[in-house]
Amino acid sequence: MTDIDYDIIVIGGGPGGYVAAIRASQLGMSVALVEDKHLGGICLNWGCIPTKALLRASEIRHMLDNVDEFGFTVSGIKMDINNITKRSRKVASQLSSGISHLLKKNNVQVFEGFGSLVKDKSNIKKIRIKTKDNNIEKTAKNVILATGARSKNLPFVSSDGINIWDYKTAMTPPKLPSSLIIVGSGAIGMEFASFYNDLGVDVTIVEALPSILPNEDTDISKIVKLNFEKRGMKIKTNSALKSVTSKENSVSAEIITNEKVETINSEKLILATGIIANTEKLGLKDFNVKIDKGHVVTDEFLETDEKGVYAIGDITDGPWLAHKASHEGILCVEKIAGHKNLKPIDKTSIPGCTYCRPQVASIGMTETQARSKNLNIKIGKFPFIGNGKAIALGDSEGLIKTIFNKDTGELIGAHMVGPEVTELIQGFSIAKKLETTEYELMHTIFPHPTLSEGIHESVLDAYNQAIHY
């Protein structure tokens, strides 16, 4: 058995894969990581991180636009979209090289190339790595598939990088368009909408479902919708994209809203309609790896039907979030290491964040979901207008909504929109993980003045004890 190269080979160096590799190394396993493009994956290079850098710029632009409110008068401000994107790329590459350093420090052997499974008679897993120059083969006892996902094109329209953009082009626009249609109002679409709107672009959002941010609680998405519309964005819900015609310097999109066809013209169009898992080139068809609706099927500890082959992150079932991928990476490695008392991931306790302005963050069930499960619930709501710190910041639009199980006091959902709620949500994550009830939250002392007091007030409100509302 000494001729097996590694205990684990991880295919894919995103937030799932590289975290899994480091954890495996910590546990004393020999581990290799195969990455075709860039360490850190989409998240770090073309997703979470660079978009946050962009949104920081648009946030500053928004502050500059309103700087007089705070007693300043400024003039002569110039904006260069190329410098904004340059900074965004710099942030991404800084972090990517950081990952490289982390992997080296943890003795993870990194192979640059495209990894795929090769059928072998024995139980040993054989991985073919197609590098720039040649093919090499390595063996391992276990393989973790962490190849992520890419943006999904629609059957009748694909991104062309010129007028029809995917997220990559949207993150590195050659110049700022005057107008933009964004198809899809999930986190990605909403962040681009907010970014481009703050930079002065005329934005139209097209969403097929009845509300924007369709996964969020309706109270939250309503507030975002009002805010976006107030900023001049046009929001078309219940609207299906029928066709897109790319002209020389513009696009023309046909959309159907309530059976009425409408044509919208704009300079550019961003497709943000979802993702598709990267499963095709992994050689899976020779293995007992089941794929359902495009995503790899695993058990609760991330093992596929093929023993010793695991899958984590966006290649598996949703929610497709980097932090979920990382957590799965750790869980699956600890499972391989034979750790006892591991708990599968509780999907009701994965927080989700959208970094548009105003920010949106949530965890657990929405009110609609809770009611559809016939849970006996108590709801608390606290608007940021009642929060001193928010008013001082000049950013008091938003709401914190909490949902408790009336019978047990279990926190079953928290939904927030407003200033820095993406930072506030972890308070609820911890509360949920520790299984606190309303009692512990009500008797926790929150520092004053902070935005976090809104958490307290929302909980108090659920039990009719809110002080400042």
Partner: protein, 421 residues
């Protein structure tokens, strides 16, 4: 030819018993009819007789062994001059029985600890039964607030839940997965104190427990109470006893038995028992009377009371009570009966509610006769009053029937000459 001496069935319902005492030892010569052992059943201690002549070749069960199945061999009787070695197989079968008992013990451990296999192997090797019960005050229990609240709502003691969280922290999922049936209450052995004595429950104690639990679980009890003026009854009793020349002594209880029987004849709906598909109405009045005996109680039956006079009832009762106290009642003398009486009047108990003796429909709890002020024609006078409480199985006897019984009973007790009818 050797003969197996089998565990006898002392009553039609007996399935197992305890060999309480051997009256012979190996090598003893016995003749048919000799007493060889005492067997304790759920109700009484009985003696086992030798069925043939011979020599006790081998005793297969030790004194005090419980749960010996009816018809399993308890000893081997050899004919004279026969050699024991031919019977080695019997000894083996006995060992097998013992091993089964041992296995059963292990099963108990597994049932208790089914969630944690590690614990099973540990308990087996230590040969001790592990209990999850730990007194709350002695050990800190880690539990999430939510789990704690849900456990409280469901009345599950935290000490019985095994936590699956870090450091054994009890989480909501552990409470959700907890099977309420697995709660173990503290065994006295686990409490570190010497201020108690452990008395092994006799077969009778266990039977009493089993029957009373069954009664309270299955029969929906309701209770009716009535005061009876027994001055007249006491007068009649005095007159009767004054003529006895010490040949008999009628007790108040004997008269209550008679009155109960007479009442049942007038209210036959109360002389009944529940049989799920049917209700059985008895034509005879067989009155079970609770008798306290060493280590418990038993209800010997005065049969066919309807055709007996007070004297016969009194004699029957004396005889049965004495046999009961000696543990010599025959099964047919205590199994059955259509109605029960429990009398604690001699202890000065004013009134009480008795547990129905299943499958009967009613039991009459009789308190002591005591002088009490009563109001007659707006005047307070003194009378000897006895409070009786009828417990009824509502499946068989409805409130109105029970009330009718008591009112008729009161009528007879207060006008005892009617018992002559």
């Amino acid at each position: 030819m050797s003969v197996d001496i089998l565990m006898p069935a002392l009553s039609p319902t007996m399935e197992e018993g305890t060999l309480s005492k051997w009256l012979v030892k190996e090598g003893d010569k016995v003749e048919s009819g000799d007493l060889i052992a005492e067997i304790e059943t759920d109700k009484a201690t009985m003696e086992v007789e030798a069925i043939e002549d011979g020599i006790i070749g081998k005793i297969l069960v030790s004194e005090g062994q419980e749960s010996i199945k009816v018809n399993s061999p308890i000893a081997i009787l050899l004919s004279e001059g026969e050699n024991l070695s031919e019977n080695a197989t019997y000894t083996n079968s006995n060992i097998e029985i013992k091993q089964e008992v041992q296995k059963d013990k292990e099963n108990v451990v597994q049932i208790n600890d089914i969630k944690n296999k590690d614990e099973i192997s540990k308990s087996n090797s230590n040969n001790t039964t592990k209990s999850y019960y730990k007194p709350d005050k002695l050990e800190r229990i880690f539990v999430s607030p939510l789990a704690k609240r849900i456990a409280k709502q469901r009345d599950i003691p935290l000490s019985s839940i095994k936590g699956s969280g870090p450091h054994g922290r009890i989480l909501k999922i552990d409470v959700d997965n907890f099977d309420i049936k697995k709660i173990e209450y503290p065994s006295l052995n686990n409490l570190e104190s010497n201020n108690f004595e452990i008395v092994k429950n006799s077969a009778m104690r266990k039977t009493i427990a089993e029957r009373l639990v069954k009664s309270k679980n299955e029969a929906p009890h309701f209770y009716l109470s009535l005061d009876c003026n027994i001055d007249e009854l006491l007068k009649v009793r005095k007159t009767l006893n004054s003529k006895s020349n010490d040949e008999y002594k009628i007790s108040v209880n004997d008269m209550i038995i008679k009155a109960s029987s007479a009442t049942l004849l007038k209210v036959p709906k109360a002389n009944a028992s529940w049989e799920n598909e049917n209700t059985k109405y008895f034509s005879n009045t067989d009155i079970s009377v609770a008798v306290a005996i060493e280590g418990g109680l038993i209800t010997p039956i005065v049969k066919n009371v309807q055709s007996k006079g007070l004297l016969e009832i009194s004699n029957d009762m004396k005889n049965l009570a004495s046999k009961a106290k000696d543990g010599k009642l025959l099964p047919e003398e205590y199994v059955g009966g259509s109605f029960s009486i429990s009398n604690l009047g001699m202890y000065g108990i004013k009134e009480f509610s008795a547990v129905i003796n299943p499958p009967q429909g009613c039991i009459l709890a009789v308190g002591s006769g005591e002088k009490r002020p009563i109001v007659i024609n707006n005047e307070i006078s003194i009378a000897t009053i006895m409070t009786v409480t009828l417990s009824c199985d509502h499946r068989v006897v409805d409130g109105a029937v029970g009330a009718e019984f008591l009112s008729e009973f009161k009528n007879l007790i207060e006008n005892p000459s009617l018992l002559l009818l």
